[in-house]
């Protein structure tokens, strides 16, 4: 990736965070922490790697993304709006009864969303179904699934991984948002998930580990995954929950809490500075 493209994707990531925070401020609710850990990943996917058509969101040959950690709409919706799937003004209706942007990812009313999610552990299976459909129909589209590092405590995740490997779904790319924090505390405190790379490998996945805030590393990992045949792929993206707002980083308290006015002001200030660079 050339440095100009990398700079553009980095800028997009900060724009996604900034727009997401505005959404939360307006809604007075929403999940910031696990959205901010995803911004660079979203930026690379939607502004570089994914083959989608904003004027035809249902195009059958498109790449698909299932946000299995469906609470991270604060990353997904701004990304889709900035990419042009729907007007930015829609973001003002986030989580409001008279709007169409529900709190968790929802495919019926939000153009660009490929699967409704929210009950953790389920989205990966749907992504597996999409990848399987691609194989059945001899299509060459890719399906991306973003799973949380807390979410993978759900047994269904491992059912899905087992199936994907057994069926050699090399058109499936699972991205683990490894931000080390879940709702009640750190993953290590709540239920230590151990050596994830070894686990994914043992489940038959082509496994890569990267810095999930480096757009270059994200892009390179996706390229590498797409080129590797015969196995499904897992990209362990090491990230920071709440990335970009110093007082939120790495703290489970900012999983789903709404900042007060003072905190909003501080957060916007930090993000504005970063949007500049």
């Amino acid at each position: 990736m050339d440095s100009k493209k990398a700079a553009e994707l980095r800028k997009r990531a900060w724009e996604i965070r900034y727009t997401g925070l505005k959404m939360v401020k307006n809604a007075r609710s929403g999940h910031i922490g696990g959205a901010f850990s995803l911004s660079e990943i979203m930026s690379v996917l939607y502004f570089d790697k994914m083959n989608v058509r904003t004027d035809d969101p249902q195009w059958e040959d498109r790449d698909r993304l299932v946000l299995s950690k469906g609470h991270a709409t604060v990353a997904l919706y701004p990304t889709l709006a900035l990419r042009g799937f729907f007007p930015l003004e829609w973001l003002d209706t986030f989580r409001k009864a008279d709007g169409q942007l529900s709190g968790h990812a929802e495919m019926r009313h939000v153009p660009g969303v490929d699967m409704s999610t929210g009950s953790l552990g389920q989205g990966l299976s749907a992504a597996v179904g999409m990848a399987l459909a691609g194989k059945c129909r001899d299509k060459d589209h890719f399906t991306y699934a973003i799973v949380g590092d807390g979410e993978i405590q759900e047994g269904q995740i491992w059912e899905a991984l087992m199936f994907a490997a057994a069926r050699r779904l090399d058109n499936l790319i699972v991205i683990l948002d490894n931000n080390k924090v879940q709702l009640d505390g750190t993953v290590r405190e709540v239920l230590d998930t151990g050596d994830l790379k070894a686990k994914f490998q043992a489940f038959g996945f082509h496994t890569l580990e990267i810095d999930g805030h480096s757009v270059e590393e994200i892009a390179a990992a996706i390229d590498e995954a797409r080129a590797y045949k015969g196995k499904p792929h897992a990209i362990i993206a090491n990230t920071i929950k709440g990335k970009g707002v110093s007082f939120m980083e790495g703290r489970c308290q900012w999983h789903g809490k709404t900042p007060n006015d003072e905190q909003f002001a501080l957060a916007f200030k930090e993000l504005e500075e970063k949007c500049e660079v």
Binding site: R64, M115, S125, G129, A131, A133, F163
Partner: protein
């Protein structure tokens, strides 16, 4: 009475038939395909059959993903694990996005027999019926099952099909019989009271009505193969014209057919509704016929309940 066949067997045959005509149909099973009979499809169309292993939740999710890509998936396992274990997956990954997945729960009810309470799902219709947009179908026999399979293939939307393990006699192979989702079938005319039955209880309701006729009671028998959407019109007509209703189902009397009928009756035209079914209890191991006897799912219980319903009728 015609052939005796389990609804799951008729289902397996029908599925393999419709699979030949409709190439969007894909079938998933969770290691019980030789019991659900989805294996009959699998043998004919191995490329469109996926055994996901003992992983029901994942099966439902994969089906959702396949449906978003234009396939018409059928997912199969025992009713207990289908409606019970994957309720959340069915609700959130299939019904909420309105995906066209057919959810087939076999071995429903007491007639699972010897395997006992852990496998005798008596709550599935209540669970599935409570999900917005879900269609719930429970055929009376093999003939009706074949018709139901064709109908649900034509119907676009989440659907739960409830099937049984045991061979059941055929009662719907009658002149003029037509299967339409949401439309009950009048199996016997009657003016004093109405017996509304579903699944294997339809045959028993007919036997009860024949007994009652000897006592001079004219009992209408309606086959409610569709639990949702419930045939409101037929319920209201029964209430209006016969003044008393008995419901019969191989299911808990709470939340299933009896519940659905009562909801219509209390809203539109209150008349006595007496319910035959399991009475808020778990099943147990035993021979299927013995269990039906023990839990009061017999023509005799239906006849008794019918007499009770008539007594409770306002004059």
């Amino acid at each position: 009475m015609g052939e005796k066949i389990a609804t799951r067997h008729a289902y397996g045959e029908a599925l393999a038939e419709v699979g030949a005509e409709n190439h969007d149909i894909v079938v998933l099973d969770a290691d019980v395909s030789t019991c659900t009979m989805s294996c009959m499809f699998g043998e004919k169309f191995p490329d469109r059959f996926f055994n996901v292993g003992i992983a029901e939740a994942n099966m439902v999710g994969i089906a959702a993903g396949l449906a978003t890509c234009g396939f018409s998936p059928f997912v199969n396992t025992f009713a207990m694990f289908m409606a019970g274990r994957t309720f959340d997956q069915i609700r959130n990954s299939i019904a909420y996005p309105g995906l066209n997945v057919k959810i087939v729960g076999t071995h429903a009810g007491l007639t699972v027999g010897e395997d006992g309470a852990t496998h005798q799902c008596l709550e599935d219709m209540a669970l599935m019926r409570s999900i917005p947009g879900m269609t719930v179908i429970c055929p009376a026999d093999g003939n009706e099952t074949r018709e139901a399979v064709r109908a649900i293939v034509r119907h676009n939307g989440p659907t739960y099909l409830r099937l049984g393990r045991m061979a059941t006699e055929t009662v719907t192979a009658i002149p003029g019989y037509k299967f339409e989702i949401g439309k009950s079938v009048e199996m016997r005319k009657g003016s004093d009271v109405t017996i509304i039955a579903t699944g294997i209880m339809v045959a028993m309701a007919l036997k009860a009505a024949a007994e009652l006729e000897k006592e001079g009671i004219s009992a209408r028998v309606l086959n409610f193969h569709t639990i949702k959407p419930i045939d409101r019109e037929a319920v209201i007509r029964a209430a209006k014209e016969t003044g008393a209703i008995v419901t019969a189902e191989e299911h808990n009397i709470l939340g299933g057919l009896g519940g659905a009928v009562s909801e219509v009756v209390t809203e539109c035209l209150p008349v006595p509704v007496v319910k035959v079914g399991t009475r808020d209890t778990f099943g147990r191991s035993g021979n299927a016929d013995d269990l039906l006897e023990i839990y009061g799912l017999t023509p005799e219980t239906i006849a008794q309940s019918t007499r009770a319903a008539m007594k409770a009728k306002k004059v």
